[in-house]
Subunit: 405 residues, 2 copies
Amino acid sequence: MGPDLSTLIHKAPTRIVFLIADGLGGIQSGPNDLTELQQANKPNLDRLAAEGECGLMDPVAPGITPGSGPGHLGLFGYEPTEHQIGRGLLSALGVGFPLQHGDVAARLNFARLDPKGNIADRRAGRIPTEENQRIIKMLVAKLPKAIDGVKIFLQTEAEHRAVLVLRGKGLGEAVCDTDPQATGVPPLEPKALDAKAANKKTAAVAKKLLAQVKKLLAEEPKANFILSRGFALHTKLPSMAERYGLTAAAIANYPMYRGVASLVGMTLLEPGQNLIENIAVAKKHWGKYDFFFIHFKYTDKTGEDGDYAAKVQRIEELDAAIPAARDLRPDVLVITGDHSTPSKLKAHSWHPVPVVLWAPATVRRDAVTKFDEVSCACGGMGRMPLKCLLPLALAHAGKLQKFGA
Amino acid sequence: MGPDLSTLIHKAPTRIVFLIADGLGGIQSGPNDLTELQQANKPNLDRLAAEGECGLMDPVAPGITPGSGPGHLGLFGYEPTEHQIGRGLLSALGVGFPLQHGDVAARLNFARLDPKGNIADRRAGRIPTEENQRIIKMLVAKLPKAIDGVKIFLQTEAEHRAVLVLRGKGLGEAVCDTDPQATGVPPLEPKALDAKAANKKTAAVAKKLLAQVKKLLAEEPKANFILSRGFALHTKLPSMAERYGLTAAAIANYPMYRGVASLVGMTLLEPGQNLIENIAVAKKHWGKYDFFFIHFKYTDKTGEDGDYAAKVQRIEELDAAIPAARDLRPDVLVITGDHSTPSKLKAHSWHPVPVVLWAPATVRRDAVTKFDEVSCACGGMGRMPLKCLLPLALAHAGKLQKFGA
């Protein structure tokens, strides 16, 4: 949609702040049958809405519930269906693994096989994270550091989940999952999905690795094997610098968001302990970047917990940080989420996210005076794909030339 | 987006009028901090809004500021990123040059070279238009009429700007600009951007021409050379007749808009002196066409001048012409702009344009009763790409068949 922005880059000494409240959007529930945003006391967000322009945006497309990867790619102006981040890669980013170009990552699940070698439990009874850590430590100690010249890294994620990273030359990602997604059948072999040497190499290494893991885990009562899913090659996405001419910085506490930000070339700044501190981090580095992505996790976390009251409280915490964000004097300030996480649904959802764009020099104010999902439906931005938000922010920041004569 | 309309053409004895107020959209400013449309007294436009359906449309895409070419292509239902009108072509259309199929046009800037042959001033001190005309007249008198069988046309645009048109067989447009967009360096050679004979031919003719121009301008104090930009081949776009089955006519006073209209196959009618007269021109030719594009320039011009009060006045002039447009008894009457030109910004902008579509027989009225940017945000058309407007107009005019069984 639209022209290639890299042909329209206009350098301007302006700054954009994207303050992203993860999972911000909700649906009506709670004691007053309101969305969490409607329920919250949020005078600062409402003031931004009154002074700015609002809308509803679809992170991927109407009806599509995004994972954190696609949601953030949309925020950063990428078409999430064109630039997919494989499951293994997202898991590795999520545990903060320092991925290098050419690494192949896979998500691992500890599982239990019955005496015949068929899968009895695909999640090994959801073993506690501590047990996972004990087993991973043992495997790392006893497994070879490399197989066929390919280095092996294993890391705990949580409960039954772990991450495998393979590092070596000429590895491919087109390798089938070994998790058959069924019990009573044996695990699958890691097979290359085509005849390419790179994929065959990954499959061969994985096969040898799994054979050794099987021996080492033979005496484990619950987690006597691992299943692998989502082999994914770490390839750099075109950076925000290349695509938009932005010098972008990310301030995020959770590894996954730091990882996605680094994938699009952002510099990762050392975050503080909370949102106010993270805004102070932006202030400290204000002169060096022209785009700041500040991530606030807890609107999503409380939504996933189904804790309506806690999500409302986290929205009020967000609201309390808005004056500090305004004090940065950004040319453009955007508040939105990467997707909705209604506490009623206890999960990510497809509902579009409410957006407010505040840009005093260039905004066309709409009639919206409350920042919530219902009010934003009548905003000047209407309803559009989330990937359109970044071009709008660039325009308001004077960072895009005219298209065509 | 959507099916190929040419497969759905349905002939109907109905008429569509697009009354286009160039640069119509604005943002809040002025004494009451209102948009120009909000400020204007415009009972007739408001009545259209109340009786019709409103919305906001993006000429190219959210955040993209369109030039006049892309804006009008969007209005005429063309995807502006697929059908680009090169700079040279638009300049030639802008001076009213009678382009023929196969012509190659380039935009010229008079420049000043220093004694070493490096560019000292890329705009020759923005020489007055009269000086430009004197020099062009001299060049036209002394240059050969053709080089290598290719006819040479030169025409003044304004100040330091002029237009070159090459006419001959087998000319290409993939020739680099000779303007290096920098001073202190020599102009570039006009080189073909690939090995195609057509492009090499254009480059060779341009090179010989520039060598002669350099000699003829050697004694000029300010404008002792020319730089060329945006070589563009005149190729016909698929016409509105082919795409939609329309017999379309344009009533526009400015050469550029007449030019863009002719590119999509409209018949150019002789315009009057003002908007009321131009509506009378439509009335005179009412029986012969089923689509009328009537262009009103002054909402853009006043916006570009940053003259809020004058833009408000021009909107009121537009409003006063609405009864005459209604008296035509069109089946569909559309009022919108090709882009926004907020007087606060003194330039084209990316803000979406407000649209009202009036079609008494088929309209689904929305809640909008005022024709302005804020009210239109709540209209039934929502926010959509401007290229979707023409299919909507065709539908309301009964000119589209059902798609699929």
